[in-house]
């Protein structure tokens, strides 16, 4: 690993303000998904910011220039004050999106959230039917609750996005997911293939899709987009282990978005704590704007000065910014390396071979236990 990450780059020109913020209100969650994207070390209830602290952070976010707020978790509905936090977000002028599994919501709560100014609901689905969805989520009755929540969201006049997390066990059923989204009156569907970071790496052997599955799903999405023009908007996040080039993770480190953990720790992306040597600061101890502009962790991978070859001279560096820093750390052992999902990475052949081997493995599911 280089020293770039540990020391941070010299004070940066004032970065453009962030467009979006993900607020992880809690890491508590009734589900136990084997691909959970929360960090390996979960934050317990006692360390969570209180209602007034969150309200202050949200006002700071709006003043800094955040337009889109995502209330997430864990399961944000596990917080009794979700309605108050939503009202604070709406009062600050933020476009407020609730990212939820649906578990913990009632008809009355959905109505109260709409009255508090909630703009949009993104409901996760683990599969197109109860048996497969509840098996992956590790929570019986979860799927049935989601169907109810989708109905309540529509009745409250809120737009609905369905977020379908896909992997080897359900990727061939993408058409059923699309049909479910239409049936539930969703305007948008996110078909998001599992990112094998953190907890999900334990389940590579059980969940890694095959290359053929990825190709079939991509074709199915393309056909559905054409068929459902003006009815359903579909965003597709393909499995990046089979892609040619990496994704511009977070639109570029410290460029577009930021993430606040339940205890107020501010991160450039939700997995940033996997990069050793970075020091992350917390709100409310330090102002959000100062953290965004001046903290060494946010400046570590801004711009292009940190890049190595082959990124440094690559014509695609403005497009993908070298890919995901956390994936570079996890797979190349160096957060400043080229994301190994890029064909130009010297590690790419090995990464693909490992993905293909895992896609043929007969792994069992390792569920995620909830924090204290």
């Amino acid at each position: 690993m280089t020293d770039t990450a540990a020391q941070g780059t010299p004070p940066h020109d004032t970065p453009a303000p962030p467009m979006a913020m993900l607020a992880e209100l809690t890491h508590r969650c009734p589900l136990a998904c084997p691909y959970c994207s929360n960090p390996l070390e979960l934050i317990g209830r006692k360390a969570e910011l209180g209602t007034a602290q969150w309200a202050g952070v949200l006002r700071q976010a709006a003043e800094l220039g955040v337009l889109q707020l995502h209330l997430s978790g864990g399961e944000p509905a596990a917080r009794r004050d979700l309605e108050d936090i939503t009202a604070a977000a709406s009062g600050a002028g933020l476009y407020t999106n609730l990212i939820t599994s649906g578990v913990g919501l009632t008809c009355a709560r959905v109505r109260a959230l709409a009255a508090a100014g909630l703009d949009h609901v993104q409901l996760s689905v683990q599969g197109p039917d109860a048996a497969s969805a509840d098996e992956i989520g590790g929570y019986r009755g979860g799927f049935a609750r989601k169907l109810e929540v989708a109905l309540w969201v529509g009745e409250a006049g809120l737009p609905l996005t369905l977020n379908a997390v896909m992997h080897r066990r359900n990727l061939d059923r993408v058409d059923q997911m699309i049909a479910l989204a239409c049936e539930l009156g969703a305007r948008r569907l996110e078909v998001a293939c599992v990112q094998f970071h953190g907890w999900a790496t334990l389940n590579r052997g059980a969940l890694m899709p095959t290359r053929a599955q990825a190709a079939r799903a991509s074709a199915a999405v393309k056909a559905a987009r054409e068929r459902l023009k003006g009815v359903l908007v579909i965003d597709f996040v393909p499995p990046d282990h089979y892609a040619r080039y990496p994704k511009a993770c977070m639109g570029g480190w410290g460029s577009t978005g930021l993430n606040v953990m339940p205890d107020g720790t501010v991160l450039p992306c939700h997995a940033a704590m996997t990069i050793p040597g970075l020091v992350f600061e917390r709100v409310p101890e330090r102002a959000l704007a100062e953290i965004w502009r001046h903290s060494a962790a946010f400046n570590a991978f801004r711009g292009e000065a940190w890049m190595q070859e082959p990124c440094r001279s690559c014509e695609r560096r403005h497009l993908d910014r070298g890919g995901c820093r956390c994936q570079a750390m996890a797979l190349a052992g160096d957060p400043a390396a080229t994301d190994p999902t890029c064909v130009k990475s010297p590690l790419n052949a090995r990464l693909r071979a490992a993905a293909e081997a895992d896609s043929e493995a007969a792994g069992t599911l390792t569920y995620r236990p909830a924090p204290a």
Binding site: P17, M19, A20, E63, L64, G65, L67, Q68, G93, Y95, N97, D119, H120, Q122, G157, L158, P159, T161, R187, R188, K229, G230, V231, L232, V233, D235
Partner: protein, 101 residues
């Protein structure tokens, strides 16, 4: 069928365009410009986009909207109609607006 005919079918003169619920314009005081905020999207609006959306209230017909914009900007009606149709049709396709009949 030409692209123009297709747009005219999406938004006939008598249709009343409006943003869908959960989609709104927002003055961003930090960046000093208007945005259209929608699920997972923030779209920077120019003056004409903002003006079109300010008129598209679900009550006025597309034809009325074009008349008002043509008067306000002292611009040829056909050009305003073309721009406004393309702009609104793109929002309809992206599930951010509707053309009420």
């Amino acid at each position: 069928m030409s692209a123009e005919t297709s747009l005219a079918e999406t938004i006939p003169d008598a249709a009343r365009p409006a943003l869908l619920g959960g989609v709104r314009t927002h003055w961003d005081k930090v960046r000093g410009r208007w945005f259209l905020l929608a699920p997972e999207r923030a779209i920077a609006l120019d003056e004409i986009g903002r003006a079109i959306l300010a008129e598209a209230d679900g009550a006025r017909s597309f034809a009325e909207i074009v008349d008002r914009l043509a008067a306000r900007y002292d611009a040829p009606r056909a050009r305003i109609a073309g721009d406004a149709r393309a702009f609104l049709a793109a929002l309809i396709e992206r599930r951010m607006a509707e053309a009420r009949r």
